[in-house]
């Protein structure tokens, strides 16, 4: 004890000599180091916002997830949910909206890696026609069979007029267009385009885009099974060097959605997905933190100015703190090299805890100055008398951070290292730079010793220790039922702000579709293993949709290939390409147009009788093009030569279309390896293994259901991975880490206190206000319905750190007084109260946060700080008084 005491005294005397002898030098050296550190951090300190690097890659579940990412790439999609209203018209509108939006997004390949929302026959490669149902295949075969003679005739002619004649003849034959009603829309679409081009060409307009767009025919959009929504999956390019990793793609998508929404005012759409939720969380957090910070600065600034009588002393604390923070940035740059999503908050932690060290030094300085000591003497008193308590408080506070150093939660471990060292650096700054600043600032001004602000009224209570302790015990006992109600909520969605679009759409996806932003992933070595796994998964109640590459393979391929054999032969019999036609001749084109017009009018009557108003109107438009063309040709037969270029284009495009049909109709069986790369890469890994994904059928934002889902999946395959597993395990790991950190902090703090005092009574008394404060806080949480969650649980180690601090300072002052005089006539209770007040104010601003996780963190910190403050001011003095002289020896 004596040795430690001597070392302590020597240390502080050395510090005093340094500070008093070289005050400007101390400030200058501190400032230069801070400048160097700040510059180094500015230049070299990186930002790593990759969630996947927050946890140790050595943990099996994380190792499997990283391997999955390596093998199959990032599949964390953003989901654009487009409402269809469940009607055909709504679906058409949603598809057009999606097309326009995709077009806008695909203009930025640097920000958007991929957009999945439809599959067109062209996307599906040579096996496209094998995706048709057998009925569709038969209809197509019938259509090709019916059209083949006409095509054969036209191949021998190759002219525009010939094409119009043959089309008119075909349409005039049947009750429906060749191939049945399914082909009506594309046939009418192509005809409208073609006749519009004819009219345009006759009027002298030249258009180069294709008349027959195959991507528009038979394209399947990704509608949900209830057809109420069209889902677009967007893969953004992530920038892990930014705090908001998808800021740029997200801004682009939201801008594109706004533009597309203006084009389609009737279409409702929203954006969600885990990256969006995280980005929105980041944004609301940032906004809430800014608001909380501004409020805290204003409130703490006012409080400091009042309590410390002017702005110079608070400014000295702030300058010392800024230096300490700069040093910590320097340390982080040298030791870690980057900040992660958790360690980035270290600065806030230092502001919250580091400023308290300065408060104690300045309060003691003011007390000494007020009692008649000159400025240097007052600084000396503050340093030598309060310094040891500040040192002890700082070391115990840093324990809360060092306690997570060995955690598998690497993000938290890095925060522990940087935060713990930061606290020690704050301690260093407050014990060197701050006294130097107190010595040098305001020297030239004549100072009137400030009036004391003390809590002397509490002395009346401390004089009646038994009554106080009885009341405290009664209150504590009354609070026990509330304490029993405190639980831990893992519900992640409940942490998010209410009313956020991404949150609302996440709920909508869960409740109204089988789509999920949480895909569990399995790997299989062979197709057989994958099929067996799929069958097992489909029996699970908690599993919604199981997706494999087999879902993208055409079914009944043999049947369809047999159906296509005949039309393939019919097309194979055609010459390689259409004949080169003669220049368009007005009388022949006129006759062809009239034939076509007659056929279309007949078809229009039938469609009208069948109630197909939209198609009737469409034919009306086609007839309008024909009428205009006929009129132009009748008035000027020479205009027919304007059709020459269009005729050439048509010949080429029709030839290409038939060539593609020939390939499609003769296609071999489609295997997983024949699928388009965009699809193949989702399901076949770099090592050739297959991926299966399973969506939950339950709301996995509820932790109990997430647990059920994960445990169910593990019964089928213990190696299952993907976001549900990672979130489940990470939440558990975080919970365990916080509990072990809290326990280790208590252990380390107790050890340090014991080493410092060699007295168990001292350790018990120091921890007493913290213990009582935590019990009161838990009781209040129970009564107010505040639960622990993954966002606010971090408050516990911080509360332990600052709660112990109060006890340390009270005990130090009580010992210094050696039982004489009143504790409440000193500056210590005021300084302790000010410390807790800054914490309460700092975190109290979070109560206004939209992000419910942050608001709950604010609530916990406010309740905890106030409880610990009350316990410090009421319980400890009463106990000290009750125990009498034993306590200061």
């Amino acid at each position: 004890m004596n040795l430690l005491h001597s070392i302590k005294e020597s240390l502080f005397l050395a510090i005093w000599r340094l500070v008093s002898g070289y005050a400007p030098l101390v400030i200058a050296v501190g400032g230069v180091i801070a400048a160097v550190c700040a510059a180094a951090a500015w230049l070299y300190l990186g930002m790593d916002t990759d969630h996947d690097r927050l946890v140790s890659p050595e943990i099996p579940y994380q190792a499997r997830f990283l391997e999955l990412l390596e093998n199959f790439g990032d599949q964390e999609f953003l989901f654009i949910v487009i409402h269809t209203g469940g009607t055909e018209e709504g679906k058409t509108l949603a598809a057009r909206y999606a097309d326009r939006l995709a077009e806008r997004l695909q203009r930025h390949p640097d920000l958007i890696e991929a957009v999945y929302y439809r599959l067109s026959p062209v996307d599906l490669g040579t096996g496209a026609l094998l995706y048709a149902s057998p009925e569709e295949a038969r209809a197509l075969a019938a259509a090709v069979g019916l059209s083949a003679p006409a095509l054969s005739r036209w191949y021998g002619d190759g002219s525009l007029a010939g094409l119009l004649e043959e089309t008119g003849a075909l349409l005039g034959v049947g009750a429906a267009p060749p191939g049945g009603a399914e082909f009506l829309a594309p046939v009418l679409g192509a005809l409208e385009e073609l006749l519009g081009r004819v009219e345009g060409a006759l009027a002298g307009k030249v258009v180069d885009t294709p008349v027959f767009d195959l991507t528009a025919i038979g394209t399947q959009y990704f509608f949900t099974p209830n057809e109420r929504f069209l889902i677009m999956r967007v893969l953004p390019d992530k920038d892990f060097g930014e705090l908001d990793i998808i800021a740029a793609p997200l801004a682009l998508i939201r801008g594109a959605m706004a533009e597309t929404g203006a084009e389609f005012p009737g279409v409702e759409a929203g954006l969600t997905g885990r990256p969006v939720l995280q980005a929105d969380e980041m944004r609301t957090t940032e906004r809430d933190m800014t608001l909380a910070s501004v409020l805290a600065i204003l409130a703490v600034g006012t409080l400091f100015t009042v309590m410390m009588h002017g702005w110079r002393r608070p400014a000295a604390i702030v300058v010392s703190l800024l230096m300490a923070m700069a040093w910590t940035f320097g340390f982080a740059t040298a030791a870690v090299g980057s900040l992660n999503l958790l360690s980035v908050v270290f600065a806030l932690v230092l502001i919250g805890i580091g400023v308290d060290f300065g408060v104690h030094i300045v309060s003691r300085f003011l007390e000494a100055h007020r009692s008649g000591e000159e400025r240097p003497e007052a600084v000396r008193t503050a340093l030598l008398r309060t310094g040891p308590g500040v040192l002890l408080g700082g070391v115990t506070s840093s324990c809360a951070f060092f306690s997570v150093l060995g955690s598998d939660f690497l993000g938290l471990a890095e925060l522990g290292l940087i935060g713990g060292i930061g606290i020690l650096l704050c301690l260093l700054a407050m014990l060197t730079v701050l006294p130097a600043l107190l010595l040098t600032t305001g020297r030239r001004q004549t100072e009137v010793p400030p009036t004391a602000i003390s809590f002397s009224f509490l002395e009346h209570l401390a004089c009646r220790p038994k009554m106080v302790l009885l009341i405290v015990a009664s209150v504590t006992l009354a609070g026990l039922p509330g304490l029993m109600n405190v639980g831990f909520s893992y519900d992640l969605l409940e942490l998010q702000a209410r009313g956020l679009e991404s949150v609302e759409y996440e709920r909508l996806l869960i409740e109204q579709t089988d789509e999920s932003t949480w895909l569990a992933a399995f790997t299989a070595d062979s197709l057989e293993e994958m099929t067996a796994l799929r069958e097992l998964l489909q029996t699970l109640e908690t599993v919604g949709r199981v997706e494999t590459i087999l879902d993208y393979l055409p079914r009944e391929q043999e049947i369809k290939r047999a159906i296509y054999a005949e039309p393939a032969r019919a097309l194979a019999a055609l010459p390689p390409s259409p004949a080169v036609p003669a220049a368009p001749h007005a009388p022949r084109v006129l006759r062809a147009l009239e034939t076509l017009e007659e056929a279309l009018m007949g078809m229009q009557e039938k469609l009208f009788a069948a109630g197909a108003g939209e198609e009737v109107v469409r034919i009306e438009r086609i007839l309008g093009h024909i009428d205009a063309s006929v009129q132009m040709l009748a008035e000027g037969p020479d205009r027919a030569q304007h059709l020459d270029s269009l005729q050439g284009q048509l010949r080429q495009q029709m030839g290409g279309l038939v060539d593609r049909l020939r390939v499609w109709l003769r296609a071999d069986e489609v295997t997983p390896w024949d699928l388009p790369p965009a699809l193949r890469d989702l399901f076949i890994g770099r090592d050739g293994r297959f991926q299966l994904t399973a969506t939950p059928s339950v709301d996995v934002w509820s932790f109990n259901l997430l647990e059920r889902f994960v445990l169910d999946l593990r019964r089928v395959d213990p190696t299952v991975s993907g976001p549900p597993v990672v979130v489940y395990e990470s939440a558990r790991l975080m919970h365990q880490t916080f509990i072990s950190a809290a326990a280790l902090t208590i252990l380390f703090v107790s050890l340090i206190l014991y080493v410092f005092s060699r007295s168990l009574l001292y350790v018990g008394l120091t921890l007493l206000p913290l213990g009582v404060g935590i019990v009161w806080m838990l009781a209040l949480m129970g009564f107010l319905g505040v639960e622990f969650n993954l966002a606010n649980f971090f408050a516990i180690p911080i509360l332990i750190a600052i709660g112990v601090d109060g006890g340390v300072h009270f005990l130090a002052r009580w010992r210094e007084q050696q039982g004489r005089g009143s504790l409440f006539s000193t500056s210590t209770p005021t300084a302790v109260a000010l410390s807790f007040a800054t914490t309460t104010i700092g975190f109290g601003g979070l109560l206004l946060a939209h992000h419910r996780g942050l608001a709950s963190l604010g609530a916990l910190m406010v309740l905890g700080s106030l409880s610990c403050l009350a316990a410090c001011q009421l319980v400890l003095p009463a106990v000290l008084r009750a125990l009498g002289n034993r306590t200061w020896r």
Partner: protein
């Protein structure tokens, strides 16, 4: 003795089985009569063949179907080659049910609807009272003027101040009415749906309608037998039969329902509007 009885039994069975086989193989031909429908019977024949193939497979009997969209030819066919069953337009049923012993056994649901409704459309603001009209009114449902006149106006055609004329070009009739070339046009429910998408929709107003009336019934000709019930079952189960999905799409319906009970009220045997 026993041997003789056994031989007699074999002889009986041998004589009955061919009969039974013949009975089950009796054709179950049908006719579809929709006067005024655009197109030609030849164009509709593939649809008839599809219905025939489906029913034939379900009932295990040979089935053939013919289609008429002209009334005289249809009536002549019924006189000369009466089929077992048919789908006839409601006016044809209303006027000729007694003549050809039609018994409704099911009802069609065009466009998925169980009821039809006819509307008289006239040029906008010309008049709101059909009694002020003169000239000709056209429509696909007017081939049986008596039924149309009774249903729309509660009068027999000869008591009306205008003529009712059937047409197989309903869209042209709408255009003619919009141009004032005819006094008005009568459209059924499906045609009215299509009409609303047309630019002409703003030029014509509705001044009379039939209210809800039955759709085309499925009828059995002559005396019913056990096949009637089987056919009824097959038709009414089509909506739930995946094998019938394509056929129903072709017929632009979602299946067949029970026969409308009010069909019995609409008979024009005595050439007077039923009250």
């Amino acid at each position: 003795m026993r041997v003789r009885r056994l031989i007699a039994l074999f002889a009986f069975l041998a004589s009955v089985f061919p009969l039974a086989a013949t009975a089950s193989a009796q054709p179950l031909n049908f006719v579809v009569i929709q006067p005024g429908q655009p197109g030609s019977p030849q164009e509709a024949q593939p649809v008839m063949d599809a219905i025939a193939a489906y029913v034939s497979e379900k009932i295990d009997a040979p089935v053939e179907g013919v289609y008429f969209n002209e009334l005289p030819a249809a009536l002549e066919f019924l006189q000369n080659t009466p089929p077992q069953w048919g789908i006839v337009s409601f006016p044809v049923f209303a006027v000729h049910a007694g003549e050809f012993a039609m018994t409704p056994i099911a009802s069609s649901r065009p466009g998925g609807e169980q009821k039809d409704r006819w509307r008289l459309l006239v040029p906008h603001r010309q008049t709101t009272d059909w009694r002020n009209l003169s000239g000709t009114i056209q429509g696909t449902v007017l081939y049986e003027p008596a039924a149309a006149a009774c249903l729309l106006f509660g009068e027999m055609p000869q008591e009306l101040p205008f003529a009712l004329e059937g047409t197989r070009a309903p869209l042209q009739a709408v255009r003619a009415a919009a141009r004032g070339q005819v006094a008005g046009v009568v459209v059924d429910r499906l045609q009215h749906e299509a009409f609303q998408a047309l630019p002409a929709a703003g030029e014509l107003s509705e001044i009379a309608d039939t209210g809800e009336i039955p759709t085309s019934p499925v009828v059995w000709f002559a005396a019913m037998d056990e096949r009637t019930g089987r056919l009824q079952e097959v038709l009414q189960a089509m909506g739930d039969d995946p094998d019938a999905a394509d056929l129903l799409r072709l017929l632009q319906t979602d299946g067949f329902g029970a026969a409308a009970p009010e069909l019995a009220r609409w008979r024009f045997d005595d050439a007077r509007c039923p009250r």
